[in-house]
Symmetry: C2
Subunit: 438 residues, 2 copies
Amino acid sequence: MRAVDIVRKKRDGLALDPGEIDAFVVGVTGGEWPDYQTSAMLMAIVLRGMNEAETTHLTRAMADSGTRLDWSDLPGPKVDKHSTGGVGDKTSLILAPLAAACGCVVPMMSGRGLGHTGGTLDKLEAIPGFRVDLDIPRMRSVLRSVGCVIVGQTAEIAPADKILYSLRDVTATIESVPLITASILSKKIAEGIDALVMDVKCGQGAFMKTHADAERLAQSLVKTGLGNGVPTQALITAMDAPLGRAVGNALEVRECIDVLRGNGPTDVTTLSIALAARMVLVGGLAASLDEAERHVRSALDSGRGLRTIQRMIAEQGGDPHVVDDPAYLPLAPERVMVRAERTGYVAAINAELVGLASMLLGAGRDRVEDAVDPAVGVVVHAQCGCRVKPGDALAEVHYRSDLRLGEAMILLKKAWTLGDAPPQELPLVLSEISAAQS
Amino acid sequence: MRAVDIVRKKRDGLALDPGEIDAFVVGVTGGEWPDYQTSAMLMAIVLRGMNEAETTHLTRAMADSGTRLDWSDLPGPKVDKHSTGGVGDKTSLILAPLAAACGCVVPMMSGRGLGHTGGTLDKLEAIPGFRVDLDIPRMRSVLRSVGCVIVGQTAEIAPADKILYSLRDVTATIESVPLITASILSKKIAEGIDALVMDVKCGQGAFMKTHADAERLAQSLVKTGLGNGVPTQALITAMDAPLGRAVGNALEVRECIDVLRGNGPTDVTTLSIALAARMVLVGGLAASLDEAERHVRSALDSGRGLRTIQRMIAEQGGDPHVVDDPAYLPLAPERVMVRAERTGYVAAINAELVGLASMLLGAGRDRVEDAVDPAVGVVVHAQCGCRVKPGDALAEVHYRSDLRLGEAMILLKKAWTLGDAPPQELPLVLSEISAAQS
């Protein structure tokens, strides 16, 4: 089976059979397929698509390109959540301990931020001493004692995805529902989970800008997960304004602790509970969504979620005092306010601009090799719907150097749109897709 | 201008502007575009297409990627013919001297055979001593004294095409009208010609299988030639059965000499005259096609064409005696007949099978690095329309080794289709496209 013949078949819009998909993934992983044939194939997939059976098999083949972890020695359903990425999206740090406190085993492998979106690993590394590079035996030990662990993806997990993703990034072949589906799910399936909850972000600050595109991706994720024996539930959630108030690594960790104490912003709290409840439900630990939500609220209200994250931090080498006293988290030396210049209601906050401003301050990275500053970022003071008058604080900028502060301030001033009337309140969860409906 | 952004624009079906096309071609030629970005771009072009302006500019940029030859010191119109390739297609060796005998200057750069189709350079090298690797000063000197020269493409001609073609071959991105157009015309334009005649082959033995596909390519070639200041006339001609009787290098040279003596098969003679007359016409040496045909027939009937090829052979280091006595050409040591097994009329001869049989005997190559045997090949005895009875010769096989003779014989037996009634006579020239019509 020659590579060029498989590429030609996809170019001509035909469905590839499992043997052809295996040849592609094995060839990519082993280096027998040179990059130029792989990128021609990727472009053909972007423009010709893949049907459900092809996407399911591609996902399986990519998951099988490396090690598939096995946690069957640990009691309880293995459940994870994955988000397609947003600004201020810190729900992983909240829902992992909440779901674990409800009986789930959460072996979460997460990523780093790039561009305007943040990454869970960068946030956790703002905690002094926190280690995200645990090996499998250490992961198992943390999972056994705490019920959740959040680490970086190891080299053995879906190596085909690493090769494909680095090529997709430079060949304009990112935007493809089957390729995005296979990339996300192959890694999650290789993680050894029984069920998955997907948070598909939708809006101007997300990868998927329209509800229709987000629905298409969510449908594909749910069908492909099920096709690979991993029941998947997807929420499509709004990503127009930043989620919560904090954008920036240590600032977000602090907000997560606030949420777990019951003092966090409503939007992050609501979404974290909604996602954690779906994890409990798909994990089979509740008979209905109502029951699952009651479990999660009880874990939150009782402080079990807070104690779980404190134990996870300690087990992963981090300083557990951060949970009791945020002064143990790094703090930026300088602050400045972004202030309203007129009277009005906050009609919109452009999440992408806030994310880019935070990146310019050093909280995120433009290129994968850049380092991040754990302390800097932006705290939103005036959320959507707030009434402000001239001089009122819209946001507080936490910064270290004023090198790119001017640029960041310009973006932040642009990010707030003020209107004369209170804006319509928009829902956070736009729709939900589960296997039965899809 | 980043490569990935140009690839994305084409992926999204937008037309590239001249600056973007230049960046692509210059990047490919200079090696700044890695192969994986180039092949993603090629696949995007295959699936999204290019409009007339893009194709014209791509052709110009590829022609400008190397040297553009200049023959303005030589009097007379510089005209060439190019064929998209067929089996037994030896018209170049006939029309080049005929057009030169009519006053054209023919600086022909030709190629080698691959797969089932033959190549002009391989045919000429069957002539003992013949050199196809002339440098530009030597080409100029042959053109000045003879009026025509046939050589291989030098490294300075359209280097972008060499890089793109080798990638297209292994990434299933050959089949694209704009890419084929730019590949053919960039080389011809860099040759320094004033006008071009295209022989677009159509049928089961050609690259373009249907008349609609051949028309599309011909239209694109004519428009793109004109857009680059090279008036181009295209004939769409049948390539179902082999052209003429001889398939194989020395055998075809011999047939060409027969044609130039006035003793060749009707189909090759007719097509060579038709193409040479278009060269005379687009070169401005005749006021009408009728007048151009009279010039060409006079060059043929007077023997001026024959003397011109004899002088070209001599000037290019070949043994001019081959023109007077075919015994100076290499001859295969062994012969065997393919015979009819039933009574009937030859309804069809599958050119592709005859071409593949000839390749198996050693006349052609499967891979570009293979050597060819000048002597071997197939001579058709029973052309389409012939009535045969059991035992009559369909073809004579000229071979050296019986290593792959069995395979070749099987293909040849399959190639002839016999029917009970005389087949309908089909035209050789199917249609004609010139700038005014296109």
